[in-house]
């Protein structure tokens, strides 16, 4: 019998089956045994090496080994679950002891920002990354992005110099200072050429690169700056006054830089949209569930509930009697006792009455909303962006890249500082992170609430964001470990939302948020504190999946590369299917639409998921596994069509009908290959 070619060895084992299954398999594949030269033996069936388990049955190691890890810079204790750490590299000498920041990827290169410049690694062999560039050019935060032959680096702090000098800038006003965007030509990755600067009023804390699908000559860079406005003497046109006092104010806006790909030195700010203006009063989705319950109770008891400032409120009796009086007058009821019709009329008219009374129309001019965004995640294929902007999460329409407009905004009373956003691949969900304390504080102690410094998951329904749940690193960290939700990316597992995310010294956490109400952790890695005697900055700044690797930028320790270890919660087949996805490049704030090429791994991943979620009977799952296995080894494709027809008939009655149909289509696609 032919052996499977790739990772199948580890993912399945052959074993004797029970009589019923043999019977079933023979019934279904009877034709197949007769028509094929390489047959799967009827007495065997294919079973996964690790049986998939439901997300409700995840059993993490207990007690959590991340609690109480010993400290050390390069020799801290470590805990790891369902991951393999395949390599780690210390920073180059000039960058040791200086903060490593964000990552960008192009081909086989990893660009790692550092407050002292940029480091480039060749990861052709991920078990042994090679340093190819250590470009000394200090600026905080040195967040990096790539597009085509260009590399972009953010500069925010006062010490960044146009000439890349390490001496900093002392004076309040100086021609030497760079606060904004540095642009490099990386046609030859190993010899970056510094080609342009775009100076901005508040510098660039981070940035996002947007490629307009309809414009191949330019890219757009959205600048987010959170530092104070620089003096007008240093950069003309920078106005620190409020927009009411001076319409040219640098506050309450983002900046959009247009970069001509062939002439990057002509890059310039083309728009400074005020996407924050006139935001609705911050609605809370329920700061206290108890408050909401109280309102519901009142509503059921017949109270009049109105929306005020975005929140439901029980209308006080004195208002009710006054408004009811008006309604009764309208209805010609002079008895003094309201009828059911009066009540109904009041209920109907109430929203308008409230709007008239409290209007807000006049007040809104004063409501400028947030001052800036931290991150803006651009997802051009669906025309949306998620803006994490101080006290708000914004949903933006970016179909016109130079003119982003706001579609929706949410606020959350448990959220301190909206930091970044990640969409589900289909754009039906979005997750925001709260970088409470700015990343330098220990916000994962046992006493810190699980809703603070966490992720918030929203579903997007008709352009509106609805809150679903929070996710926070479940392992309490020590007082010496800065820890809060930070950057991450989707792992392209088909049919699921799986995220890998940085939690600074809380390490990295991988979790499933397919069910937006029940995010569940399925893998992690953590080190003990950098310093066991006082707080020292360290931990994972950002971690992203890139072409089969999970690459981690460790603030103090350097670069780590992980691969996924199969588990009941993420099978080898699912990992293999994820690894069929390949990006040419990846930026932290640009989300690519993931498309899975047709492959046996993809079909097998769906089968594992249907097994996990009881989407088909055990017998159907067994036939699918056996059939796919034999088709893959014999290249006989008729069996695939048979399987597809069989399960299509069962899709209607399955709890996972959509996935059953997707699998059927995948099997048909495989048959045509």
């Amino acid at each position: 019998m032919k052996k499977p070619t790739t990772n199948l060895d580890s993912s399945i084992v052959m074993r004797k089956s029970n009589v019923l299954l043999i019977f079933l398999v023979s019934m279904i594949f009877g034709f197949y045994a007769c028509s094929s030269s390489t047959v799967v033996e009827d007495s065997k069936t294919v079973e996964p090496a690790i049986q998939p388990k439901a997300m409700t049955e995840v059993t993490p190691p207990t007690p959590d080994p991340r609690v109480g890890l010993g400290a050390g810079l390069f020799d801290a204790e470590e805990a790891i679950w369902n991951l393999n750490l395949i390599s780690q590299k210390r920073p180059p000498a000039d960058f040791v002891g200086v903060t490593n920041s964000d990552l960008a990827f192009k081909d086989n290169y990893v660009f790692q920002g550092n407050y002292n410049g940029v480091i480039v690694w060749d990861v052709s062999n991920p078990r042994s990354p090679e340093l190819v560039v250590d470009y000394l050019c200090p600026a905080s935060q040195s967040d990096v992005s790539v597009y085509g032959n260009l590399l972009f680096i953010s500069g925010e702090g006062f010490g960044g110099r146009i000439d890349c000098g390490t001496e900093g800038v002392e004076e309040r006003v100086s021609e030497e200072r760079l606060r904004g965007l540095r642009i490099f030509d990386i046609t030859n990755v190993e010899e970056p050429e510094y080609v342009a600067n775009v100076q901005t009023c508040r510098g660039s804390h981070t940035h996002s690169v947007l490629k307009d699908p309809n414009d191949d000559e330019n890219v757009y860079v959205y600048i987010s700056g959170s530092a104070p406005v620089r003096p007008e003497e240093e950069l003309p046109g920078c106005v620190n006054a409020l927009p009411d006092d001076d319409p040219n104010s640098a506050l309450f806006r983002i900046e959009v830089i247009k970069v001509p790909l062939d002439n990057p030195e002509k890059s310039a700010i083309v728009n400074s949209p005020r996407i924050f203006e006139d935001l609705e009063a911050a609605p809370t989705h329920g700061l206290a569930p108890a408050d909401l319950a109280e309102i519901e109770e009142a509503r059921e008891a017949g109270a009049f509930v109105v929306e005020l400032g975005g929140q439901p409120r029980v209308l006080p009796d004195r208002f009710v009697s006054q408004l009811m009086g008006n309604v009764m007058q309208q209805n010609g009821n002079e008895t003094g006792t309201p009828t059911a019709a009066d009540s109904a009329a009041l209920r109907e008219q109430l929203p308008d009455m409230i709007a008239q009374m409290f209007g807000g129309g006049d007040d809104e001019a004063d409501n400028r909303g947030p001052n800036q965004c931290h991150d803006i995640t651009l997802y051009p294929q669906i025309g949306l962006a998620g803006g994490a902007c101080e006290g708000y999460g914004l949903l933006l329409d970016i179909s016109d890249p130079a003119n982003p407009t706001r579609i929706d905004a949410v606020a959350d009373s448990n959220f301190s500082y909206w930091h970044s956003a990640t969409f589900s691949n289909d754009g039906s969900k979005v997750m925001f992170t709260d970088e409470w304390g700015g990343g330098g504080q220990p916000k994962c102690r046992e006493t810190d609430p699980m809703e603070w410094g966490a992720n918030a998951i929203f579903t997007i329904n008709n352009g509106k964001m609805d809150f679903e749940s929070y996710y926070k690193l479940p392992a309490p960290q020590s007082v010496y470990e800065n820890c809060v939700a930070h950057n991450g990316s989707l792992i392209p597992v088909p049919g699921r939302e799986i995220m890998v995310q940085s939690w600074y010294q809380g390490g990295i956490s991988i979790f499933d948020w397919t069910d937006p109400n029940n995010p569940v952790e399925i893998a992690y890695h953590d080190r003990g504190p950098v310093d066991g005697t006082q707080m020292a900055m360290g931990g994972s700044w950002s971690v992203y999946w890139y072409n089969g690797m999970i690459v981690n930028s460790e603030i103090a320790r350097g670069l780590d590369i992980f691969t996924l270890e199969p588990s009941p919660y993420l099978t080898q087949n699912e990992i293999d299917a994820a690894n069929t996805v390949s990006f040419d490049y990846l930026n932290a704030q640009g989300q690519p639409k993931i498309e899975w090429p047709t492959s046996y791994a993809l079909a097998k991943a769906y089968v594992d998921q249907l097994d996990r979620d009881n989407g088909l009977s055990d017998a159907d799952i067994a036939s699918l596994r056996t059939g796919i296995y034999s088709a893959e080894n014999s290249r006989n494709t008729r069996v695939l069509r048979e399987l597809a027809s069989n399960i299509e008939g069962k899709a209607g009655s399955s709890s996972q009908s959509e996935k059953v149909r997707t699998l059927a289509q995948t099997l048909r696609d495989l048959a045509t290959m």
Partner: protein, 247 residues
């Protein structure tokens, strides 16, 4: 790039290196927790972590040396800012500490709890910043509405805190401590907005001073305080507007 093939291909080489590095680098192999459920990262040592031709011990020495030298780049203005902000934050702790007993709404209680959590941590961070730079470290003692700052030596012993922008006068603090329920909420939001605005003002002043916050840690502390408090001011303003609207 086909990762699985690459890994398989290099596996035999890696194994040899692993054995070799365990022999040679056994002493620096990472300490790992022992747990039946936990995969320990012994494979970490498979390939060299070295980048600059330095051993981990030399690397670590360089790391702490560079952290130390980064701490030498501060000014008197940075020190004044940290010292002043510790006192400023301490008054926020006093104000917020009143919320549970004065019948604040659950919204205001949540806000107050978060202010306490955040500003206590920031005080610790600023104290560490001063200690690391061998500057006098103010220790805060809170007794009811009274706040005493020790540890600054004779010159600073009697600094007048109410001179700082946004600080409440003793009378205002007294007024707040006597307010209950909705009146407390209203007054708390009003005073805390002023208090936060004061902190933002202090950061802005600092940023506008020659040579200040060139220290990376100072820039970060000041920047985070500014951003967090500005965000919180907007939130409190909306809470206050909503209160006014519903009355």
């Amino acid at each position: 790039m086909d990762l699985s093939k690459m890994i398989n291909h290099s596996f035999s080489v890696i194994t040899k290196i692993t054995v070799f590095s365990f022999l040679v680098f056994g002493s620096v192999a990472c300490k790992s927790t022992e747990s039946a459920h936990t995969n320990q990262s012994q494979t970490t040592q498979a390939a060299s972590t070295e980048t600059a031709g330095l051993s981990d011990a030399e690397m670590e020495e360089l790391f702490w040396a560079r952290q130390d030298s980064a701490r030498m780049n501060f000014t008197e203005d940075d020190v004044k800012f940290m010292t002043g902000m510790i006192a400023h934050h301490s008054q926020a702790l006093i104000m917020s500490g009143l919320a549970p007993e004065n019948g604040a709404s659950s919204q205001v209680q949540t806000l107050a709890a978060r202010i306490i959590n955040a500003q206590k941590d920031e005080i610790k961070l600023m104290q560490t910043w001063l200690r690391d730079r061998e500057q006098p470290v103010p220790e805060v003692h809170i007794d009811g509405l009274k706040m005493m700052i020790h540890g600054l030596g004779d010159h600073h012993m009697h600094m007048d805190h109410t001179n700082m922008v946004g600080m409440l006068s003793p009378e205002q603090l007294q007024e707040l401590s006597e307010a209950k329920g909705k009146e407390f909420d209203r007054l708390f939001l009003k005073y805390m907005i002023e208090h936060h605005k004061g902190a933002v003002h202090m950061v802005t002043e600092l940023f506008n001073t020659d040579g200040a916050t060139r220290d990376e840690a100072a820039f970060r502390v000041a920047s985070d305080i500014q951003v967090d408090q500005r965000t919180e001011i907007a939130r409190m303003q909306l809470m206050l507007d909503n209160m006014t609207a519903s009355n």
